[in-house]
Amino acid sequence: MMTCGWEVKFAVRRRKRSSAIMKKQIQIANIVVGLFILTIFLGCADKPSFQFNAVSKKEAENGTPFSAEQSQDVANILTALFGTPDDPAMPNVNSFHWYLQYDEGYAEDFATLVDFENLKRSAGPVSSDENGDSRGLYREHCAHCHGISGGGDGPTALTLNPYPRDFRHGVYKFKSTSGKARPTDDDLMHIINEGIPGTSMPSFKVAINDNEKKALVDYVKYLSLRGEIERLLWTMTSELETGERLPLVFADGYDKLSEEEKDNLMGWFEEEGAKVESLFKSWLKAKTSPNVKQPPTAPESFDPKHPEHSTLIAQGREIFHGKAGDCKSCHGFTGYGDGELNNYDVWNQWAKGKSDDYIAEFVNDGALPPRTIAPRNFRNGVFRGGRDPNTLYRRIKEGIQGAQMPNAATLTDDQIWSLVAYVRNIKSEPITGGQSHLPVNDKPIN
């Protein structure tokens, strides 16, 4: 129902691409288009809505489904805070003052987190304005993979491996900030510009202009924040006593309450309020004072022309396979990325240790079939966050958030640089260690 507008567009696209041989498909597409147009006229909502996070809702339900009212309350609160896909809003932090103990100027800071005009431009249906500027950017470029709610669950998601990023965790892998810190605008911009090699995320470097990219960066942050708050709301709903409802004044109306009601409400937010506050602050910090550490200068032998370069690679090899780094534990003895295949990343964590029946119920409710982790296969020589030395240094030094790659807490700078040199070189390292084929293999096949 909610995606009517868009499925029409898809059918039309498919039609455009069809060749003469596919006349039958065109006919079917025509019928599909006709049917959809018909349903629109017959009253199908033509405005898409945000979808619930099926996984976090079901996890919070823990076997006892929430009532229709309880779910509706979550939807209403989210709409009050973040608007709709056609009419976005950012939470008015002034209405949170009763539990966010923010400092002077916080509201002004928060207003700088995203540019509201950028949100308006990214949201809504695909169109262009009187200046010829494209609008509805997210639906034009992103939603088919990342989904209308940023859940990484758009119509094409199921066919992709890896799945598109689910923004609703606020977790990003390829970034310049330390540890769990959120990505900077530049980090997100880098992904939009360069794409993610080895995945279905393309480069938008020339496809869209800089203002459009900036608008999308802000929209991704908006979807992240919205998704993170939604997850909190489901947890809150799970803690309700029988017959109790979430306080709808979450978004607004606090000042109108009696003192007793205010006290009662504070009780609600003693934990979640602190979490909302830390969410806001984390995103703000990445915008205003990100914790970005520049990698130290690489040793001279990092230069492939340097006579000691092969020694550096050999050092890296020892760390990779030895106890100091133990990279092989996940990336495998040959670097094929097949050392640890039974674990789950942050986005698939809900499936860890669960039975097939349990997982099937989640998938039935809209979750993508879970996948176990795939530690990077170095034999392809493709690095998702980019292969430049500084980027790889950061991946090893800081680990990869969400992906289960730990940070090299005990390695020295030089040891890390040797690992960078080694992992860049694995693709050209013979698996047999330079040994030629064994006599048993000396006959051609056939």
């Binding site: 602190a274 106890k323 100091a324 780094g325 680990g399 807490a409 005990t410």
Partner: protein, 264 residues
Amino acid sequence: MRTLLRNLVCFSLLIFISSSSGLAQEWGNLKGKFIATGDAPKAVELVPDKDKAACELPMYSRQLLIDKDGGLANVVVFLKKPSKAVPVHPSYKEAMSKPVQLDNLKCRFEPHILIMTTSQKLRVKNSDAVGHNANITSFNDDNSHNPNIPAGKFVDLEMPEVETRPINAACNSHAWMKSYILVRDEPYMAVSAKNGEFEIMNLPAGEHTFQFWQENVGYVKKASAGGKTLPKGRRAEIKLTIKAGETLDLGKIEIPVESIVPKD
């Protein structure tokens, strides 16, 4: 003269107040024993998919440990996160300045549940011959770490933020390895032992709000002592009065097994 008198009165009052507040801080203890009621389910065996030589086999899940008398281990008892600082008894001072250790031993985290204060460093050690890591996930960015710890090495981590409830630590290369960490400003917390017993020493006398936490359910809502349900409300709060110089013994605290069985 009048001013002098007033000053004198003020001065003596001040002395009285300061000395009385100095003396006023008195302490008491809290103890109890968790008993799981009902039939204990069979322990779940954990089958490692690698590094078997480093593990002590067979290995069983610790998410529900009940001894033969029903004693329930690994229930965390703590003061509900206080809104202002709670006085700390001097006997805690020394321990609170030393690192607290989370070991990787025989492919398990030791201890399974660790309690620590923000003043302590978290020493993540690896006593095994294989590599481990400790992926600590918190809402607080500053408490989230995922250090790789090579065999025989250790890493000291800062845990500067207070957590409302225990947070998770997992090893990513050994999927069965899991533990929990509770970080607080004050040291008033305990983890029930194998026989279900716990004790918190030297709490400031007065009324406090406590919470019980168990990894399969979070806040324990179904817990009763002497036929009376202890936790109240959404956050399962337990109001208790600690009397100076006395130990408040909650006796047997019964938790129905079915309320804490993990869902799978």
